[in-house]
């Protein structure tokens, strides 16, 4: 294994990496980044759990298409635009949105009901796109792999050891749906998501408006949104990034288009 990695590194012209592999032994294979094909398997498996636990996905084709168009508009200008992004509406009344690796993104009916214009939806989807572009969930998996002493999590491994793959996925699902990602990852997703939406031309202040309404609706206690930092912290972080990135409040809101296409609930 170690030899194969060393040879592969040498053939790719990276002598330094080849030496690192020789020094690092087999452990290095577990530390290598997860490639897109594996990311896709992980994304699909996590998505299966999201769909199963949140009432399945909407079969309203016009609504699905609209959410996909807004999402694709934002994803086209994100920091990782080269992978496919797909969006679905979950038949669930809770106020939530999720991202699984490889570009699988979900928003609940409950959250769509709270949204008032396309710029707000763009920022919500931007937040989830940022989790994918920054590989936040993959980092959780990479870490748990190391903790479990697993040195391989490639497709070959997952097919040979479905039990271990299930363990990794179930751990990631628990983190994503029950415990929440690290607070700084959520803040980063809020900030980047608003930047991505603003890059396409949406008004960056729209997201602050939505977060303020949710705060009024649900309060500022983390007990409700236990998977995210409280609203005041999130609002302050978004306002901070608007200032540092020079995002101007002169983008579009597209309230009419959202009322026509996003409210088909």
């Amino acid at each position: 294994m170690q030899r194969a990695a060393e040879d592969a590194a040498r053939r790719s012209g990276d002598e330094r990496l080849a030496k690192a592999i020789r020094g690092g032994g087999t452990l290095i294979s577990g530390l290598l980044p997860i490639g897109y094909e594996e990311e896709s398997s992980i994304g699909q498996a996590i998505s299966l759990q999201v769909v199963a636990r949140y009432g399945g996905v909407s079969d309203q084709s016009d609504l699905t298409r609209y959410v996909n168009l807004v999402g694709r508009a934002v994803a086209g200008s994100c920091d990782r635009p080269e992978i496919p992004y797909r969006f679905a509406v979950l038949n669930h009344d809770s106020i939530n949105a999720f991202a699984a690796p490889a570009g699988y993104i979900f928003v609940t009916r409950g959250l769509l009901k709270q949204i008032q214009n396309e710029a707000e939806l763009a920022a919500v989807l931007g937040h989830e796109i940022a989790h994918v572009s920054q590989k936040h969930i993959l980092q959780v998996i990479q870490r748990s792999k190391q903790l479990a002493g697993i040195t391989e999590a490639g497709l070959a491994y997952t097919n040979q050891n479905p039990e271990a793959f299930k363990g990794l996925i179930d751990g990631a699902v628990k983190k994503l749906l029950d415990e929440g990602l690290d607070q700084e990852k959520e803040i980063e997703a809020d900030q980047l998501g608003d930047v991505f939406a603003a890059r396409v031309g949406y008004d960056p202040t729209a997201y602050v408006g939505l977060l303020n309404r949710l705060k009024a609706l649900k309060g500022d206690d983390r007990a409700f949104f236990k998977t995210h930092p409280n609203f005041s912290t999130r609002i302050a972080a978004v306002q901070r990034v608007m200032q540092t990135e020079g995002l101007k409040p002169n983008g579009v809101l597209l309230g009419d288009r959202f009322a026509r296409l996003g409210k088909q609930l």
Partner: protein, 170 residues
Amino acid sequence: MRRGKRQRMSIMVLVIALGLLSGVALAETVFVQAKTAKLRAGKTSLDRVVADLKYGEVLEVLKKEGDWFEVSTAAGVRGWIFANKTMATKPSSGDEALAKLGKSFRRREASDVTASAGARGLDKASETYADKAGISQKDRDAVDGMTAYKIADQEVEDFLKEGGLGEYAR
């Protein structure tokens, strides 16, 4: 006298060197930071498209005006690009290269059981996961449908245009 001449020569060399350096510094390059981007003959979204640019393509900036940059591609095509579709730093590729490398030797370990991720459908690993986790057929079909869901780049472009987004800002 000779010493004075040498000094003048040194100053001249220094001036030329500085000139060259500043010339280098003036040539600003940016990279396409969008899945697709259009290079246009003028600085509005109504101008004729002169080239379709790809993610990560390097461009030399010739002029900046408002939200638009006049650029030249590596192939020497000149035109205007909406500034928000560019970035000063090159999109990272090292990570993916490492990832590919990781996969190449993981595959070697058990190439006969490697799943192939097709354009449509759940792959072998997630299908096996669905079996083990007791996921219903309806939920499998939902993720399957999501994986296969396609919207053409042109439809996204039309959507941006209709909303006055991106380079179609009114």
